[in-house]
């Protein structure tokens, strides 16, 4: 278990080094995208003037509040990543993000795509919205707010030591969720026999 303090844009080399169980604190540009935003970004192909290369993609629908024309992050924990499972491979084909941040893990389609594009999936504690808001720092921009509404919009944040983020699916095909799943399946079978 190694601790890393990373800054965006994240290098390919560091991603290769990251292993399941490593801890990351992330600084730099992180943007949110849930189901609707994935669909919208795939439909449009890009956001003019917004380069996603090396950035963190965050599965999150935050609570935001506007004060004197300025947006503040109120609470911004991760959403269930599995909802994006079927969309993520196409997303990674198109957008060169290096880190996916979410909760609950993703499936075989994403795991394969992480390998193909040298990307890692990291977990942040679900429900820890106030703690996440602190780490995500400031709002840099927002896209699709009118079309998609607050939770589904693409919010761009300037994060500072956002974490702890646990590497739970690395770029070599190893998933901590698969490990846990095998163990809980064994435990279930044993419990049902008792």
């Amino acid at each position: 278990m190694t601790e890393y303090f990373l800054k965006t844009p994240i290098d390919e080399e560091i991603i290769t080094k990251l292993k399941v169980g490593d801890i990351i604190y992330l600084s730099g540009t992180v943007f949110t995208a849930r189901d609707e935003a994935h669909m919208e970004l795939l439909k449009h192909g890009d956001i003019p003037g917004f380069d996603m290369t090396g950035l963190g993609l965050y599965h999150c629908g935050p609570v935001m509040q506007q004060e004197n024309g300025k947006w503040n992050i109120i609470s911004a924990g991760p959403t269930t990543s599995f909802r994006m499972e079927t969309l993520e491979p196409a997303f990674l084909d198109k957008f060169k993000v290096k880190l996916i941040i979410g909760k609950g893990g993703m499936g075989p389609l994403t795991l394969e795509s992480l390998k193909k594009h040298n990307v890692v999936y990291v977990s942040f504690t679900g429900g820890a919205g106030a703690l996440a808001a602190k780490g995500l720092g400031k709002v840099k921009a927002v896209y699709y707010l009118e079309e998609l509404g607050m939770p589904e919009a693409v919010w761009v944040f300037e994060a500072k030591d956002f974490g702890p983020l646990i590497v739970s699916m690395d770029s070599k095909g190893h998933s901590l969720y698969d490990d846990v799943n095998s163990k809980t399946r064994e435990n279930l079978e044993r419990l049902l026999k008792e």
Partner: protein, 286 residues
């Protein structure tokens, strides 16, 4: 007399407390779970959870960005005179609370996905009224998140299989749910009635503090048996492996038709937010 403005303010305070403060019984269980874990990863999850509870309290921020659907359970005496006032005040309070706290606008049209941005909509707000003896009322506010609600289930079990079958279904389901409902969870289980009553009882079971078991000792023993087995699964906090998968199992029941065994499960995330407002016959609120 119950003052309309004060009632709205009290309801907003209830929703604010619900979004920001975790009840003491929940925090206490989370602290116990933190001390029990030995692995680095589950320990880190519980630390983040406890840090988050403190930060939300200190800074007055919602614990979780999913501030839920505002669910109200009202238990009112037959002689309680203000049900009509409460009925009118709740939607007004929800709309204001959405702006002021703020809450995430979470109600969307099921088909068009359109979001009115005020946490209201067709057949909303979600209010259940139960009439009982007496002249006072208790309002429970349960902000219910989507990730945990997605893991709800209803099984129409074979009556001869009974509890054995119920336990098997719950264990299989929690293994399948893994990290999705933000474990450690609270499992509300409703048994009997019909499909609808079982579901309602399961959700109502979540209102019970985690340090209280069912008053029927046999049912309390079933709650413990399921809780112990669920924790032996090893799903752990956030599904990353560990010793605590659920903080409590609360069962509520009613009679069933002899040919049926309706069993409902409503899963609540660790962020088991609840608020209570009491109003007496003179309109005094606590």
């Amino acid at each position: 007399m119950l003052d309309e403005k004060m009632l709205i303010a009290r309801l907003i305070k209830g929703m604010r407390d619900g979004a920001i403060e975790l009840p003491a019984d929940v925090t206490s269980k989370l602290k116990d779970a933190y001390s029990k874990e030995t692995g680095d990863i589950p320990k880190m999850q519980f630390k983040a959870i406890l840090d988050n509870i403190k930060l939300a309290h200190d800074e007055g921020l919602p614990l979780c960005q999913d501030t839920g659907i505002q669910v109200f359970f009202i238990k009112a005496g037959y002689d309680f005179p203000y049900l009509n006032d409460i009925h009118k005040a709740i939607p007004v309070a929800i709309e204001k609370a959405t702006m002021e706290i703020p809450l995430r606008p979470n109600t969307v049209d099921p088909f068009t996905g359109k979001n009115p941005k005020n946490n209201l909509g067709h057949n909303m707000p979600a209010v259940t009224v139960e009439l009982v003896e007496g002249d006072s009322a208790t309002i429970h506010i349960l902000p219910k998140g989507g990730g945990s609600e997605n893991m709800s289930a209803l099984w129409m079990l074979t009556p001869t299989q009974g509890f054995k079958s119920l336990k098997k279904k719950v264990l299989e389901h929690i293994q399948f749910a893994a990290g999705k409902p933000c474990p450690p969870t609270i499992l509300g289980i409703g048994v009997g009635g019909g499909a609808d009553m079982a579901m309602k009882l399961a959700k109502k079971a979540l209102l019970r503090p985690l340090d209280c078991t069912n008053s029927n000792e046999e049912i309390a023993a079933m709650e413990k048996e399921i809780l112990d087995a669920v924790n032996e699964l090893g799903v752990g906090p956030m599904g990353l492996g560990g010793k605590t998968t659920a903080l409590a199992v609360n069962i509520e029941y009613t009679s069933r038709h002899p040919a049926t065994f309706p069993t409902a499960l409503v899963v609540q995330c660790w962020c088991n937010r609840r608020a209570i407002i009491k109003i007496d016959k003179n309109g005094v609120m606590t």
